[in-house]
């Protein structure tokens, strides 16, 4: 694959900066959630939470901030983020300006991530304005995340799905088994190093 030109100062995500983490004692969560409460619509604040404190943060969000419902848990694999030739948005240096056709401008490369997986918890409060919040914690291969099933029972299948498809291990989950893939499946299909078309086709000429 051809190497694409990089902006000065580009470093690979593997030696990227440390992710900022906030702990629940800081006022930031409270502020951010109040901000979400004020804003009506789809905007959500992102809070990066230290991985070992995610359950504590979720309990805090449920009991103190009134986020009654966890709507979704989703893990993302950032392996190879920013490395591919297709990554990066072509825009002008001042941002996106469509009124100037033929402008190719600078290639803006995506921001770096310090760990491989992000796990996002999407929370919703059932009250006026529909405030939403997103907690995010980051792990590398082999690191575990505490289960939040004791905070919201609905996380049972969400965590099982992310374990199944992304291989994230949730500590304290009472029944962490594969959910969508067969029990004896090998590998975690949504990881970036899991190939598309890796499954042999039965009754084809090659067998």
């Amino acid at each position: 694959m051809t190497e694409w030109p990089r902006l000065p100062g580009y470093v690979s995500h593997r030696d990227g900066p440390e992710m900022p983490t906030v702990t629940i004692e800081t006022a930031r969560i409270r502020e951010a959630c109040e901000q979400a409460r004020d804003e009506l619509g789809f905007d959500m604040c992102v809070d990066v939470v230290a991985t070992d404190r995610i359950r504590e943060a979720c309990e805090h969000a449920r009991d103190e901030l009134g986020f009654d419902m966890c709507v979704d848990i989703v893990a993302t694999d950032y392996l190879g983020w920013g490395d591919k030739g297709v990554a990066g948005y072509i825009g002008t240096s001042s941002g996106r300006d469509l009124m100037h056709p033929m402008t190719q401008g600078l290639q803006v490369l995506p921001g770096l991530k310090s760990k491989r997986f992000s796990i996002s918890y999407h929370l919703l409060a059932l009250r006026a304005g529909a405030p939403r919040a997103r907690f995010q914690c980051w792990v590398d291969e082999g690191e575990h995340v505490p289960s939040v099933i004791s905070v919201w029972p609905t996380c049972d299948w969400h965590e099982r799905e992310q374990f199944d498809l992304m291989g994230i291990v949730f500590d304290g989950h009472p029944n962490l088994e594969r959910l969508l893939m067969p029990e004896d499946w090998e590998g975690h299909p949504l990881r970036k190093d899991y190939p598309i078309g890796g499954e042999p086709v039965r009754f084809s000429d090659e067998q």
Binding site: L40, G41, F42, M44, V46, D68, M69, C70, V71, D72, V74, T76, D77, W81, G82, K84, V86, A87, G88, Y89, I90, G91, R96, L98, P101, V108, L109, P110, G111, S120, H122, L124, L126, R127, A128, G129, A130, R132, R134, I149, W152, P153, T154, D156, W157, E161, L165, P174, N175, R178, L179, L180, M181, P182, P189, L190, Y194, I196
Partner: protein
């Protein structure tokens, strides 16, 4: 506007199983008994609306243990979408929830538009609302017809599918397809609304309230229907929230929550409609919520028609040549349009880096799309928050001391589409 849990007549405390929230365990005293029979229900069974497998432990006629097994329809949509350009991706979300397809299409398109910060023309927004509401009626008709059929009301099925046919004809008139229409494009609509749609749609809107009266005449005073649905599969409001339920299942448990009203998207804040809420949390209330929603959706469709009929000749898609395909006729005269067309079709348009979660009220509840873009023409990660997936988590709680015959009614009333569950 405030969310209130209206007083319910359901149970006290919680019924969510203590060990694993989605598995009802056989009680201690029955565990070694030879009276408990383990029955495999599904994966192929006409009443599960797809391939849902339930492992049921029966003590006589009573369900004492249940565990749902899903994944038989897992097709890896999320993985496939990562290798397609955005405008090719639009066909995937429709096939996830194959009964509420327009709403799923909408949530993905909205997520891409939010990342692009793209302004959509008013006409497109109103038309999207109209089609989504028609789709909601369509989805509830399928629910009503099939779940009544399972409880023995065969004629309901024919009536419901009569109206459903009309809606599919309307979809075909607009988009050329009866299902999986792919009519929503990033930036607006794929085509202008064709001539002749409005009068046909008006006819349907005039007809639908009378059809609803027919359904009510068949079911609402039917002793068998009432016996088989009232007080069956009860879910309290508190448990419904803890289990993440959304949409009609949540509203039938007395929780007054609808994203169309509480977190308006498109132009929902400009239309007049009521959110039906019922207190009992049983199968009958889930049926009543959906019946009322069909009437409300018909009202919304009528209001959309009133607006759209005055918008003839206005644009239906954004004028953003880096994202939207140029008009066909320009390709003969403009070199630049030809280049844009070629670039969008081959490489696709690039979406700025970012991550976003967008949710809409689909017929089954909160349908969400989590989208991560690395700035390239293909999504880095797409994830769908599937309302059916969450609805099935409540089976163990709803089946507390249920009879085996009620199991059919309960699973049907949760209205899970297996394509949506397994993705």
């Amino acid at each position: 506007m405030s969310t209130t849990v209206i007083p319910t007549t359901t149970y006290e405390g919680t019924r969510i199983p203590a060990r694993v929230p989605t598995i009802l365990d056989v009680p201690e005293e029955l565990r070694d008994s030879e009276d408990v029979l383990r029955v495999n229900f599904g994966p192929n069974h006409p009443s599960t609306h797809g391939v849902l497998r339930l492992i049921v432990d029966l003590h006589g006629e009573e369900v004492v243990g249940v565990s749902a097994v899903v994944g038989y329809l897992h097709t890896g949509f999320e993985k496939s979408m990562e290798s397609k350009t955005y405008w090719k991706c639009i066909t995937f979300p429709e096939r996830i929830d194959y009964v509420g397809y327009q709403n799923n299409e909408l949530v993905f398109v909205l997520a891409v538009e939010q990342l692009l910060e793209l302004e959509v023309p008013t006409k497109a927004k109103w038309m999207r609302m109209l089609l989504c509401e028609l789709n909601r009626i369509h989805s509830h008709l399928v629910f009503l017809g099939t779940s009544a059929l399972e409880l023995g009301a065969i004629s309901m099925f024919w009536y419901c599918f009569r109206e459903r046919e009309t809606i599919l004809d309307l979809f075909e008139l607009v988009t050329g397809q009866r299902m999986h229409t792919r009519y929503f494009q990033v930036g607006g609509l794929a085509e202008d609304i064709p001539q002749g749609f409005f009068p046909e749609c008006r006819k349907f809107v005039e007809w639908m309230p009378r059809a609803l009266d027919d359904y009510k005449g068949i079911l609402d005073r039917n002793e068998i229907w009432l016996e088989r649905t009232q007080g069956i599969g009860v879910l309290s409001g508190q448990d419904a929230v803890a289990l993440g339920q959304s949409g009609p299942n949540l509203r039938a448990s007395g929780v007054d929550w609808d994203l169309r009203r509480d977190q308006p998207y498109l132009h929902y804040e400009q239309v007049d409609f009521r959110v039906p809420v019922y207190p009992n949390g049983d199968v009958y209330d889930r049926y009543r919520v959906r019946m009322d929603e069909m009437a409300e959706s018909t009202k919304i469709v009528r209001q959309c028609l009133d607006r759209l009929e005055r918008m003839e000749g206005t644009p239906w898609i954004a004028d953003d040549r880096k994202v939207v395909l140029p008009p066909r006729e320009e390709l003969h005269t403009s070199m630049e349009s030809l280049i844009h067309h070629f670039k969008i079709v081959t490489e696709g348009f690039r979406v700025p880096e970012g991550e976003i979660y967008v949710a809409v009220e689909s017929p089954r509840g909160e349908s969400g799309c989590y989208l991560v873009s690395d700035g390239g023409p293909k999504p880095w990660r797409v994830h769908f928050r599937a309302p059916s997936f969450v609805a099935l988590e409540a089976t163990a709680t709803c089946l507390h001391h249920a009879l085996v015959a009620d199991l059919i009614a309960v699973v049907g009333s949760l209205d899970a589409v297996m394509g949506d569950t397994d993705r």
